[in-house]
Amino acid sequence: MRRRTMLTGTAAATAGAIAAPGGAEAFVTEGKRRTLVFSGGQPVPVLDPHVKYDYSTRLMQQSIYDALLKYIDNPPKIIPWLAKSWDVSKDGLTYTFHLVENAKFHNGDPLDAEAVRFSYVRGLKLNKGIAWMLKAHLDPAGIKVVDPHTVAMTLKEPFPGFISFVPWWFIVNPKQVMAEAKNNDDGQGFLIAHEAGSGPFKINRWDPQAAMVLDAVPDYWRGWEDGDANRPSGIIFQVIREPAPRREALLHGSVDIITDMSPDDYDSLAKVKGIRVPDEPGMAPFTVMFNCAWGPTADVNLRRAIAWAMDYNALIAIENGHARLMDSPFPPAMQDHIAVPGIPRKDLAKAKAFLAKTQYAKGGLTLDYLYVAGLEVERQVGLTILAALEPLGIKVNVQGVPWPTVMARGTQPKGGPAMIAVYVTPVSTDPDVVASQYASSAAGSYWGMHHLHDPTLDKMIAEARIELDQTKRAAMYAEIQKRIVSLQPAIFGMLENRRWAMKDDVEGFVFCPIRLTGEVDLYPMWIKA
């Protein structure tokens, strides 16, 4: 092309682009099939399924990779995926998975038992991301290939919760990974930015800061949920960091589904014609953790006084009604959840009675409340606590700080804040996943910013974890929930509803609470032509 022609063309195209800008970008490809565009505020910097997971990362990992089992629906259930069935030995130690025979990786390699063994060993060996789920229960030596379509995993001790973590362990292609491994890195350098999966989508293009473009795999081994005619041509995950432009992108039609919005945004979008906002009960408890190891809140009676003074209705109001109060440390969708009798609700007389048992009977103290700067709900909760504690003579210093500072201050008991806002996102329906967050071994971690040390509770959690009799186990977890509430390591706040805003022509959306905030299963979703 001659330079002048090209410059003239560019100028004309620029004028045209300004005259008819951005609006709905047509993502029509493959005939009538359309590409589904999902937008959130968080990028996808790492793809390796054994190294990192958060909602945006897992959104893509789940689209590119398959696991032996998968969580679907609400209430959540585990269904066979790469494993068509599984057996558990009578002693509860050995799990044998029987694989489907037609599964293949994107490069055409068959997905067999060796790939499963390699992926689990890799996940345990790297000791990153998902490793915490199984590291204490499974050794690499315990994973054996029985035949090309059967793999057995023998645990170190009985752990009935094992199956509930299997959907998080994605299978990678060993040949591809090891061919790209350098400096004994087990292919980490390769899998950060490339894929070796068997899932319904494969990577077309990826800019970690801006967008990830995935193409559908037309001959996906499992087929398509609503038939081949009703599948997307691909998926785009677009990072739009600020909520306002994200909202506008949905209204303009350039994206199909958005997440990470405020309660007010969702409410206003729900009123827009052509947009719907699914409103599903969430499973991520919002708690305000106390520093149980240092400062005034080391006194359980002060913690109880604060919990009984809290205005719980205000929490629901902050969410514009799209939330439920916690009735236990465990969310309701979790196995063996009970509504704990006598869990604190606002009662100023009780609060004052508990306060009288402390050295601060007349108040006169100031407590720090720390939250992640920019999270409006957490800020408003801080203001609610500030108002709620005024009748007790307790002042609250509400501080919004960056996320690294929350972690740095909150994980150190000495000198740490008295109260800290924490969202807990359970990744399993097994009660141990939440119960163990209140064990002494969790103290000092993100979930353990309460710094609680209670040997009785530790013993109860350790015993319940390995109990194979489900009836006995349920009774044990009921007692654990009561014990946690009585120790009051946190204000047990609310469970926000999970919401997304999406165009009416988005089909196949299925809610499942065992997903990270904002995450959806993109596999069954498509756009009506």
């Binding site: 092309m1 090209m6 410059l7 063309g9 100028a11 004309a12 195209a13 620029t14 682009a17 300004i18 800008p21 951005g22 970008e25 047509a26 993502f27 565009v37 910097p45 790492v46 390796d48 190294v51 997971y53 958060d54 790297l126 000791n127 990153k128 490793a131 915490w132 789920m133 350098g189 950060i192 930015a193 293009r205 800019d207 970690p208 800061q209 801006a210 967008a211 473009v213 677009q238 990072v239 739009i240 960091r241 600020e242 306002a244 432009p245 506008e248 992108a249 303009h252 960056p402 996320w403 690294p404 500072t405 972690m407 740095a408 201050r409 994980t411 990744v427 000092g444 971690s445 993100y446």
Partner: protein, 335 residues
């Protein structure tokens, strides 16, 4: 000239060493545990220790610094603890995107700033002058992120004239990189439609980025031109019948150019810093956004890499400006 250059390069290296030391110390005394942040909220102590060991964060700080300096000598800036990416490779992607935005903004600021400054000086106390003075104050006083949000609201939300953010629509594949600058690469690859779309996406962020610089250049140009236009030699030139346009552009402007060049060099550095805000608001995948994303996860290596890149660019811009003094005013010897 060569001695001058060598001296300036030595000074540049010295400044760079200072920058490395300061950035390293500030990053590492920040109250955050990058290994714990990278490991995630569920991580066990052993997982955090694995990451800490892999990135050498379990070594004493002086040893970490020596290792960093050693890597730097080999032009290696380490790896991001949050993503595992090599910082050098990341910079190769994000720096061109920022440079593209900065060059567009700087070009616009220089052309508009100098033009308006001259007009304001020539037509002193006139309409243009009043506008220029208001603009000069407003352009510096109003925060870039606020202007960015307001312009997004007007041009993208209400009037729907310009895209709200990003470098290209996600459905359009960027051209295969040559320079890494999308507009330039699209032109070089003979993809005018992609170049135009990228240009339209750059308009708002480049305009916002240019404002403080434009206001400063306008102000200094106006001020210098007013002074120069009152000089005896300008009056003499006018009396000799030299055309007014020629007097202003050839005679007066050239003599007013040295402080304007200083301002441009200074503002180039500030502009690189402002990209942190502008790129965040407009989701522009450049160095500023990279630095912000990394800072929020206490990811030292990328933050230091981005800071060094900006520092080096700033120093180089200052050097170029120094060299241009001699071009603008032959009385100044580069020595």
């Amino acid at each position: 000239m060569i001695r001058f250059l060598l001296r300036r390069l030595a000074f540049l290296l010295l400044s760079l060493a200072g920058l490395v030391a300061i950035t390293f110390v500030i990053s590492h005394v920040a109250p955050a545990d990058p290994a714990a942040l990278a490991a995630g909220p569920d991580a066990t102590a052993s997982m955090i220790a694995t990451i800490r060991h892999q990135y050498g964060l379990d070594r004493p700080l002086p040893l970490q610094f020596l290792r960093y300096v050693g890597d730097l000598a080999r032009l290696q800036l380490g790896h991001s603890i949050a993503t595992g990416h090599a910082v050098t490779a990341d910079l190769a992607v994000y720096l061109p995107a920022t440079l593209e935005l900065v060059l567009l903004a700087m070009g616009f600021a220089i052309v508009m700033g100098v033009t308006l400054g001259i007009l304001a000086a020539v037509r002193r106390e006139g309409l243009v002058d009043h506008f220029a003075r208001i603009f000069a104050v407003g352009g510096i006083a109003v925060p870039a992120f606020w202007i960015a949000l307001i312009l997004q609201l007007l041009f993208s939300v209400y009037w729907r004239l310009l895209p709200i953010g990003g470098q290209l629509p996600v459905a359009i594949a960027p051209p295969r990189p040559i320079t890494g600058m999308v507009i330039l690469d699209a032109l070089l690859r003979e993809q005018p439609a992609v170049a135009s779309t990228a240009l339209v996406h750059a308009l708002l962020p480049a305009f916002v980025l240019s404002l403080p610089c434009l206001a400063s250049i306008l102000r200094i140009t106006r001020q210098e031109m007013i002074e120069v236009l009152q000089a005896h030699y300008v009056r003499t030139a006018r009396a000799q019948g030299i055309a007014p346009t020629r007097v202003v552009t050839r005679l007066a402007l050239r003599n007013a150019m040295v402080p304007i060049l200083s301002m441009i060099g200074l503002r180039f550095g500030f502009m690189l810093g402002t990209t942190v805000l502008v790129e965040t608001v407009f989701d522009w995948p450049g160095l500023g956004l990279y630095a912000v994303t990394s800072a929020t996860s206490a990811d030292f290596a990328p933050v230091m890499g981005a800071t060094l890149a900006i520092g080096v660019l700033f120093m180089l811009a200052t050097l170029v400006v120094d060299l241009l003094y001699a071009v603008a005013d032959p009385r100044i010897r580069v020595s």
